[in-house]
């Protein structure tokens, strides 16, 4: 379990880092927290011959609110997200997801940028970012571009980032007051990857569901928006039977995988149960 030989640089600025990526082409990989990449390298499932460690580039770890958005630097650790006061108030969906990732060591090292770029279909942040309509700011040789969440997660371990692009920031529209979010994750042990998880962000205004976004983890080769649930609930009053009915549609258009922990059928069942529970939780006391 020793990685194949590789070279390694520690650029101090984003442009330097991009230049290194351009120079080394397909052979190069960005290294952030290393908690997905290094395990793959140790198993020699990934054998980059060049690592660009972005970990010491300044100003890439932050959480701030600006122009109606919450901006999160790509190098922000899961731990910092879990304990952010700002996020606790504005985006509890993210703090709740962060608190359920791996164990404290993983949360101290892993970064949200790495988690997004890695695009693990069982990763916890992707479904949240999809549900929150996040925007991904990436820097490449031709400058910066912005990618919408629905275009970002392409396939298993595949995001729409180019190999020579670096994710710099994730921007999330600040949910309006009264909007509530939660992440319900079902796994066999506390630190495991999800079998299925549900990210829900809902706003009930008066007696009307004015916002509903549901993201699913573990239900396909990438995170999925449960659009059937959203359609069924939008504009409704949010009564129990409506929540239940909407949750039944969590499996619309999904193609869940089969593995040791769950068959596709079991996953579909879990998706419906967890969606209902998540909806109940975020609409409680309305």
């Amino acid at each position: 379990m020793i990685p194949a030989a590789f070279d390694y640089v520690v650029p101090r600025t984003l442009p330097e880092a991009v230049a290194e990526l351009v120079k080394h082409g397909q052979e190069a990989k960005v290294l952030a927290g290393g908690h997905s990449l290094i395990p793959l390298m140790k198993l020699r499932l990934s054998t980059p011959s060049f690592l660009v460690d972005i970990g010491r580039i300044g100003n890439l770890s932050y959480i701030r609110e600006e122009d109606g958005h919450v901006a999160i630097g790509a190098l922000t650790s899961h731990h910092d997200i879990e304990f952010s006061e700002l996020l606790k108030n504005k985006l509890p969906l993210l703090t709740s997801a962060a608190s359920q990732i791996g164990d404290p060591q993983v949360r101290n090292r892993g970064t949200i940028g790495g988690a997004a770029a890695h695009a693990d279909p069982f990763g916890d942040f992707p479904a949240c970012l999809l549900a929150l309509d996040a925007e991904f700011k990436a820097v490449g040789p031709r400058g910066e571009r912005s990618i919408a969440a629905r275009d970002f997660f392409v396939d298993t371990f595949t995001s729409s980032l180019e190999p020579n692009e670096i994710l710099r920031e994730i921007r999330i529209p600040t949910p309006p007051p009264g909007s509530r979010g939660t992440y319900l994750k079902f796994s066999r042990r506390s630190q495991d990857w999800a079998i299925v998880a549900v990210a829900a962000q809902v706003r009930v205004t008066g007696h009307e569901v004015t916002q509903v976004a549901v993201g699913l983890t573990g239900m396909g080769s990438h995170p999925i928006r449960a659009s059937g649930v959203e359609q069924a609930l939008r504009g409704k009053a949010g009564h129990d039977d409506e929540l239940r009915g909407a949750a039944e549609r969590a499996t619309d258009g999904t193609d869940p995988p089969q593995d040791l922990n769950g068959s596709p059928d079991y996953r579909r069942h879990l998706a419906r149960v967890l969606t209902r529970r998540a909806l109940e939780q975020v609409t409680a006391h309305h």
């Binding site: 194949a4 922990n261 079991y266």
Partner: protein
């Protein structure tokens, strides 16, 4: 015995400061210069003929010193790997060499070794080795392996059957005839992977001109490894030294002589340099033996009042690709499957089978968890069938105090035990009656509480020399040397080889009480064959019952000699002198005493010794008890099952254990905590899974789920103390009890919770998906 102070005291473990600060020295920390690193190329095929191994390109890689295959090494093996009798003297098994020679029988079997200047260079070169295999059909399943026409692993044996033997007494047919209730049930012991936190590792240093070999190995059995290295390598045993430095857990997985111990030693002899191999987790999950993997079929004869008349169990054991050294030790499960109960008939059959999987061998409990799972599930099956509370079924069948020492149908005699008292205590702790009421209430609300019992007994403390010689093939004694130095401090050398059990602390406590030397002034040494006579090492919860008592006996011998020297110094008659708390004095005049320090000085000065007495203050003991020891207890697990997801949550876990005298109750609790966790692991989480081609699907800790602290409840522990009559300290083993007891307690609780759904058995591990499927197999309708 002198007034006991240290025995019974929960002093902190002296091992822990160095372990928790990372200053302990494991194999990989042993400093050596000019070390050559070994990387083992392992079979990627479950069953194949080796047509050729192309090493040319690899030999040219940077840092490579040598590459050796089975063909290269075969002439150097003086003997195959050892296989011990272990209850089945007439089994068939193949010769098993440390490296495959022309055929492979499981994924992970060594096929070549790369020796290089660094592990990284060795692994890089390893990628360039091409092994040409002719794939053969693989057989993984116990039952399929003995079907007609199944692919045969070892042609020379004619079939995949190693043995098929009976262990029977009493008339089972008569029992079945007398029975009101007969039940047949299949119980599956899934394959487990032991997962010690420190995988194995070996450093071998062969000195060319002196012909001496030193091996540091992460092993439970340095003394046995020494013997076998000498035999297999053809070196005089006196020239072999084996050291077990810090060993980061074993759980039985480090109890055998392993291929890599032989391979590093051979390589070191060839190269004249030290050779190191450190197992990584990738290898560990397939190269270190697995545990369990048995099917138990049982037929039960009972009366409608809950009396069990007899059982007819068959144990189908998957040995894996070879017969491991203690591979058939698991047959012990058959010998002790009667548990804490009286019955009239026992009709056991044990069958061992080869398949294309990693060999199985001892894993924490080795046979007793299987036996306990069987008999404790039997009690609950009888309870369900007769409608009698599981507590009452147990009470009805218990061996009572007045029956002790009780002899089982198969002829084993329990040393002592009061099963009713531990059960009553556990019931009181959980408030059993209130729990049953709560369970009934909750069921009405669609909530599923389950209560599971396990009133286990176990055999351990291996064991009387004659009995173990007959059963296992080796005479197992306890060994100790107690040596009081010039200054009155003492060194204790033990034959056990702790790897987490805390012997350095607890044995110092034992010697301290006998000698009256402060515990801090007693050093306990172990795990090095150069420091003492033959030890029998650590497994089977044997150490304290054997070596701990050997320490007591040696210390008593030393005390006796000290008393004689003191009598001489006090110019008193020997018979008038007493020894207490580190002082000797004439009875009635404690003010005129000589201390152990003064006695120790005298022991090294001929002028002050009684005439004709040898100098020194030292004693050696090979302790042989009169019987095995039989700990017991009652565990109760309370679970709640989420009806929507099938997830099991343990609400309470209560354990009342009796391991006789507790030398250090905190250490005992520590053993129980770890043991219960491992038993819960088998019940809820762990399972080694192969695909049809024999590739391990649970090859990493992402897929092979070992429970962590956050997945477990707080354990509520209590004790009863029934000293063992078979050793002077009155101790019984506790290293495996938690694992033995807990698995059936959890599974009985789950089956109990699912009673409204008509579920009578759940196979392990009780995954949420499996439990959910059982609850919904009739569309979720209740019985």
């Amino acid at each position: 015995m002198a007034i006991s102070q240290m025995v019974g005291a929960s002093i902190k473990r002296r091992e822990d400061p160095r372990l928790v600060t990372g200053t302990g020295s494991y194999v990989d920390d042993i400093p050596q210069t000019a070390v050559v690193h070994m990387h083992v190329i392992r079979s990627s095929e479950a069953h194949a003929r080796i047509l050729g191994i192309e090493t040319g390109r690899a030999k040219e890689a940077d840092g490579v010193i040598a590459i050796l295959t089975g063909k290269d090494l075969k002439p150097e093996f003086g003997a195959p790997l050892p296989v011990t009798v272990c209850f089945v003297p007439d089994k068939k098994y193949p010769n098993h060499y440390p490296i495959a020679i022309d055929k492979v029988h499981y994924v992970g079997e060594p096929v070549a070794i790369v020796l290089a200047t660094s592990r990284a260079a060795a692994e890089d070169a390893g990628e360039r080795i091409e092994v040409k295999y002719q794939s053969l059909p693989a057989v993984l399943d116990i039952e399929k392996a003995i079907e007609k026409g199944a692919p045969i692993l070892h042609e020379e044996l004619g079939s995949n059957l190693s043995y098929d033997v009976k262990f029977a007494a009493g008339d089972m047919d008569a029992a079945l005839k007398e029975a009101d209730v007969t039940i047949k049930q299949r119980l599956i012991q899934q394959r487990l992977i032991p997962i010690a936190i420190e995988p194995r590792g070996v450093l071998a240093d062969f000195k060319t001109f002196s012909n001496k070999l030193t091996v540091w190995s992460s092993t439970q059995i340095p003394h046995f490894v020494k013997v076998w290295l000498a035999v297999i390598l053809g070196i005089p045993e006196s020239n072999v030294r084996v050291v077990a430095p810090e060993v980061g857990g074993g759980f039985g997985s480090k109890i055998r002589v392993y291929p890599e111990e032989i391979l590093t030693a051979l390589a070191s002899r060839r190269l004249g340099r030290p050779v190191k191999w450190i197992e990584d987790r990738n290898e560990n999950v397939k190269a270190t033996h697995h545990g369990r993997d048995q099917i138990w079929d049982v037929e039960i004869a009972a009366k409608k009042d809950g009396t069990v008349l007899g059982i007819r169990p068959t144990q189908w054991l998957n040995l894996g690709g070879y017969c491991s050294q203690f591979g058939t030790f698991q047959v012990l499960g058959m010998l002790v499957a009667q548990g804490a109960y009286k019955m009239k008939a026992f009709d056991g059959r044990a069958v061992g089978v080869f398949t294309n999987t990693t060999p199985t061998d001892a894993y924490r409990g080795a046979g007793r968890p299987e036996a306990t799972y069987l008999i404790e599930r039997v009690m609950d099956l009888v309870a369900r069938e007769t409608g009698i509370d599981p507590v009452e079924v147990r009470r009805k069948n218990f061996v009572r105090v007045e029956d002790q020492p009780f002899t089982t149908l198969l002829g084993l005699t329990y040393d002592s035990g009061d099963y009713t008292t531990t059960l009553n205590k556990a019931l009181e702790m959980v408030d059993y009656k209130a729990l049953r009421r709560e369970q009934a209430e909750k069921r009405k609300q669609g909530k599923y509480l389950g209560i599971g019992l396990s009133t286990y007994i176990e055999i351990c403390g291996l064991g009387p020399a004659a009995a173990t010689q007959a059963a296992v093939g080796v005479s197992l004694w306890g060994m100790s040397v107690v040596n009081v130095h010039f200054t009155g401090k003492a060194t204790v050398i033990i034959g056990s080889s702790p790897h987490g059990q805390g012997h350095e602390t607890t044995y110092a406590q034992v010697a301290s009480d006998v000698l009256g030397i402060p515990v801090e002034d007693i050093d306990v040494q172990h795990g090095d064959t150069a420091i003492g006579p033959m030890g029998m090492d650590t497994y089977g919860s044997r150490s304290t019952a054997l070596d701990g008592n050997a320490v007591h006996v040696s210390a008593t011998k030393v005390q006796e000699k000290a008393r004689k020297i003191a009598a001489h110094l006090l110019e008193a008659a020997e018979g008038d002198v007493v020894y207490e708390n580190g002082k000797a004095f004439v009875k009635g005049t404690p003010s005129k005493a000589v201390t152990i320090q003064e006695i120790a000085v005298a022991a090294f000065q001929t002028s002050r010794l009684p005439k004709g007495m040898e100098g020194g203050l030292e004693a050696t003991t090979f302790f042989d008890p009169t019987n095995f020891v039989w700990p017991f207890g009652a565990h109760i697990c309370v679970v709640e099952i989420d009806a929507e997801t099938g997830a099991t949550r343990i609400l309470r876990y209560v354990a009342v254990d009796d391991c006789g005298t507790r030398i250090n109750p905190m250490v005992v609790d520590g053993q129980l905590h770890g043991g219960i966790a491992q038993g819960i692991g088998q019940a809820l989480f762990e399972e080694a899974v192969y695909d049809e081609a024999g590739q391990l699907r649970t090859g990493s800790l992402v897929d092979y789920l070992v429970p962590t602290a956050s997945d477990l409840p707080s354990f509520e522990l209590a004790a009863t103390i029934t000293p063992s009559p078979v050793n002077p300290l009155g101790t019984k083993g506790i290293g495996e009890a938690g694992t033995i007891a807990s698995t059936p307690a959890v599974m009985n609780a789950i089956v109990d919770a699912l009673e409204p759904f008509g579920v009578k058995d759940v196979s392990m591990p009780a995954t949420p998906q499996k439990v959910w499927a059982l609850m919904h197999r009739n569309g979720g309708t209740k019985r």
